[in-house]
């Protein structure tokens, strides 16, 4: 059972109750969560795990970790600190993190944020309230939304629901479910009446990023071995040619003995 969140942006009124509930859940001071909106352009930061973006006047959408099905950050973290759980959320292990910040480079939505002001900083991002979900509860943001813009459930069921929303009101919704296929699909999917590229959604349907990098990583050791064998081959060939040339001209001291020469 892989969970997800369905975001219906037509119901969002930018009240930001979800943002404040998220802050409360992660024990962030609410005043700080409000002020942190100004730190970065997209309103996310280490003390503000989700944000309501204004797409256009009257149209708002929630930006937070999309919990991709094939996450780039999971593939990128060199100590394996980020994992895709079978329940759906992409979760972070603060015990493993060394602070290299490669996950921040790897995410196509630019989600992971860093605690720059701390002396022992960690990476911060939404974890779909993994602990609450494990106890059978729903994420804090979904619980807090007063207008029903957020819905939590099994991803396949949510996809069906998204489709039926679009079919029932074709004049209202654009005929697209964001997150169904982009980057290999995400657990957080959107239906909307406006284009959502402002959240980082691409115009095309790109493949998942690990599918670009992982095949190359896996053949790297073999490339290394091939290079080593090739070098030995070149070296052997050249030495052999030198030896043969020396045998043909025995009276000329052309070559010193390279092996024992001083380094």
């Amino acid at each position: 059972m892989s969970y997800g969140i369905l975001v219906d942006t037509t119901k969002c009124t930018s009240c930001e109750e979800c943002v404040m509930a998220c802050a409360a859940e992660h024990q962030i001071d609410p005043q700080r969560a409000i002020k942190e909106k100004a730190i970065n352009k997209d309103g996310l930061s280490a003390y503000r795990l989700s944000n309501i973006a204004t797409i256009s006047p009257g149209h708002f959408a929630r930006k937070s970790c999309m919990h991709c099905l094939e996450p780039s950050c999971v593939s990128a973290c060199l100590v394996g600190g980020i994992t895709k759980s079978p329940e759906g959320p992409v979760i972070y292990d603060p015990e493993k993190c060394i602070g290299c910040r490669y996950c921040m480079i790897a995410c196509p939505f630019h989600i992971p944020r860093y605690e720059w002001d701390k002396n022992t900083p960690l990476m911060v991002k939404c974890d779909m309230c993994f602990e609450r979900i494990s106890q059978g509860n729903i994420p804090a943001c979904v619980d807090a939304c007063p207008n029903g813009a957020l819905k939590f459930g099994d991803r396949d069921t949510l996809l069906k629901e998204a489709n039926s929303k679009i079919q029932n009101q074709p004049d209202l919704y654009l005929n697209h479910i964001w997150g169904e296929k982009e980057f290999g699909g995400t657990s957080v999917i959107y239906v909307s009446d406006v284009e959502l590229s402002a959240l980082g959604w691409p115009k095309t349907n790109p493949k998942s990023i690990p599918s670009l990098t992982e095949p190359l990583v896996h053949i790297t050791p073999f490339i290394g071995m091939t290079v080593a064998v090739g070098l030995l081959g070149i070296n052997w060939t050249i030495k052999r040619r030198m030896k043969l040339a020396a045998q043909n001209t025995p009276d000329k001291q052309v070559f010193n003995n390279e092996e024992n020469s001083d380094d």
Binding site: L44, A76, M104, P121, P146, T220, V227, L231, D263
Partner: protein, 643 residues
């Protein structure tokens, strides 16, 4: 004199190294935020991209020279082998040192040794670099051990030298291409001029070419400092036969001297580097064509200018300098070629790692003073170790450089001038003197600003809410909301000078306090004056000024010998003059200590204006309820009775 050049070079390096030390201490104490200009938008900066990625790229000479000498068996480059190993060892060492400061949790640097993610290119880079650093240590060991006369130990390492070189070349080619592959994760974010599936290939070729030019540059600089004759030639006038041997093309711009005997090998090495650069150049242009991005070059955007600069200065210029026979054989132009090619390599890495991400990040990154200090400082420290080791051990010319440098310390206390010179010629004295000046300066200039956000006091509003074009005003979150076009009103009523027309009272330190801060209840007035807080504030104020607070508090605001009531109290503006703005709105009576209900506040502020404008603009809808109360539930307003 040689001594002067050596001293000056070391002084400059010490200045940077000491500043770097101060920066390092600050980074460990204060963390990354206060000491660097890294942000969520630009998480990788100078230390990661310049020191680590570009630094190891420049240190590739270890494996390229090893390839030429041990695999291709080109004996003429044998004399470059020892310096190459030293450059590789120190280059990787200082790059990894900078990296240690860059990661957020330096004490966890050992994690990737035991925690593996084999899907990650960064893990591959880590493993390879670690192994390669071990290999360079093994290659360097015989040099050091021979130098300290531990011949048996040296022999031990010598037996594995060839294997070490082969493994080193394989590892190097792997991790340099993997450094390029790190950026394959960003097709959406890295600019089209640099993102390509062939990025690993370009990284390895440019690293090899740049590494060759870097050791050419180091060789020429080192010779200039310690032992110019073999490279720069003697001071005698060249004979006609000697001139002819150079094809009669002694470059008169730079020098009339004939170059020394070692220059021809340097030129040959530089030619190999130029050949690699030419291949690199052609491949890059062809790749742009294949991807259909060639038109990006002529857009005139900042990225296109950076790309042209990178290829022009870093690739074409060295190629031209090496192709022309006048410049190929002369040390100064070749030295310049070495420098610009190394610079071009570094610039390429900066473009890929930082500038190529700038338009996606939407912000420009400039390193802080501390970042520069530590970044240059670790390189300067490596340079100092390099100079020291070349002086003690036979790295260049098979002789320790000590033999070229006359005794630096001569005791001569005859006069004040001589005493001063004597004191200064002792290096320890010079370093200490430098330290006395540099350390405090560095401390003062790089002391991190306090960037933490204070949460206990009310801070000036950043006008965040005003960034939203349209506000949904729903005071009690019951779903009955009003759509208010904040940006429109602001523009119409006079931009930032119009704030006070609605935000008629701002709290101390605020520029435009939100309505709900004072008008806290939907339908009832609320008391906004906190008497206890004011009592405390006045008392504390007195204490801070060294006065006895006990008798002062009441009299500060209430007149003496009067009952302590609201009427006898001072007007708020008498103390809060600077930070409370008052509008001409006659409905506001500040002395009342009460704020009207939220609904009344909204209506009183808006309706007056709307009524006026309904007449002025002849728009009968403007002062009707439904104009503002236009949310989805608007029909209910029509029927709703007031509470």
């Amino acid at each position: 004199m040689i001594n002067n050049r050596v001293r000056i070079a070391k002084d400059i390096l010490w200045i940077f190294a000491l500043s770097g030390l101060v920066a390092a201490i600050f980074r460990l104490f204060f963390g990354l935020g206060p000491t660097t200009n890294l942000t969520d938008g630009v998480p990788w900066g100078l230390w990661k991209v310049f020191n680590m990625i570009a630094g190891v790229a420049l240190s590739t000479s270890g494996f390229t020279i090893g390839f030429l000498v041990y695999v291709l068996r080109l004996k003429q480059f044998k004399s470059f082998m020892k310096p190459a190993i030293l450059i590789a060892f120190l280059g990787y060492g200082c790059s990894c040192l900078a990296l240690l400061f860059d990661i957020g949790l330096p004490f966890r640097f050992w994690h990737p040794i035991f925690m593996w993610n084999i899907n990650s290119f960064l893990f591959e880079v880590f493993a390879c670099v670690l192994l390669y650093f071990t290999i360079t240590s093994i290659e360097l060991a015989p040099i050091i051990l021979n130098g300290i006369n531990a011949k048996k130990a040296a022999k031990l390492f010598h037996t594995v030298a060839f294997a070490a070189v082969i493994i080193g070349i394989s590892l190097s080619s792997l991790h340099h291409s993997s450094l390029g592959s790190l950026f394959l994760v960003s097709p959406q974010r890295l600019h089209a001029l640099w993102y390509t599936p062939r990025l690993p290939l370009f990284f390895i070729i440019s690293a090899m070419a740049g590494g060759i030019f870097f050791i050419v540059f180091i060789k020429i600089i080192w010779s200039k400092i310690y032992n110019p004759a073999p490279v720069f030639g003697s001071a005698e006038e060249p004979s006609t036969t000697q001139l002819k041997s150079l094809n009669g093309s002694v470059c008169s711009i730079f020098s009339r001297r004939l170059p020394g005997p070692e220059m021809s090998d340097i030129s040959k090495l530089a030619t190999i580097g130029a050949g690699l650069l030419s291949i690199y150049f052609v491949l890059k242009i062809v790749d742009l064509f294949i991807l259909g991005n060639i038109s990006e070059l002529i857009t005139g955007s900042p990225e296109s200018l950076l790309y042209i600069f990178e290829l022009g200065i870093g690739v074409l210029l060295p190629i031209i300098l090496i192709i022309l026979p006048q410049t190929r054989k002369m040390p100064v132009p070749v030295g310049i070629a070495g420098f610009v090619a190394s610079f071009g390599l570094v610039f390429n890495r900066l473009n890929v790692g930082i500038f190529g991400y700038s338009s996606d990040a939407g912000e420009i990154y400039l390193p802080s003073l501390s970042e520069w200090a530590l970044g240059i400082g670790v390189i300067a420290a490596a340079g100092l170790v390099f100079m020291l080791l070349t002086e003690i051990f036979p790295i260049f010319n098979d002789r320790p450089a000590k033999t070229f440098v006359t005794n630096l310390f001569r005791k001569n206390f005859g006069s004040l001038q001589q005493t001063w010179n004597t004191v200064l010629s002792n290096s320890l004295n010079r370093i200490s003197l430098l330290g006395v000046f540099i350390l405090p300066l560095a401390f003062i200039f790089m002391y991190p600003p306090y960037k933490n956000i204070e949460l206990s006091t009310i801070r000036p509003s950043t006008g965040l809410d005003a960034q939203r074009q349209v506000l949904q005003i729903d005071g009690d979150h019951q779903g009955f909301s009003t759509i208010f076009n904040h940006a429109d009103h602001q523009k119409r009523l006079g931009d930032t000078s119009s704030c006070i027309q609605c935000h008629h009272v701002s709290l101390p330190g605020d520029r435009s306090t939100p309505c709900s801060r004072c008008h806290q209840h939907m339908y009832n007035s609320t008391k906004i004056f906190d008497h206890e807080k004011h009592k405390l504030a006045v008392t504390e104020d007195k204490q801070l000024n060294g006065l006895n607070p006990s008798n002062y508090s009441c009299v500060e605001c209430h007149q003496t010998n009067c009952p302590k009531t609201t009427q006898s109290a001072k007007d708020c503006l008498e103390c809060h003059r600077e930070n409370m703005f008052l509008t001409n709105n006659s409905n506001v009576q500040l002395n009342s200590m009460f704020a009207v209900s939220f609904t009344d506040a909204m209506h009183l502020t808006c309706l007056e204006c709307h009524k006026k404008e309904a007449v002025n603009l002849k728009n009968e809808h403007l002062d009707k309820c439904y104009t503002c109360h236009n949310s989805l539930k608007k029909d209910e307003y029509v029927n709703r009775t007031s509470p």
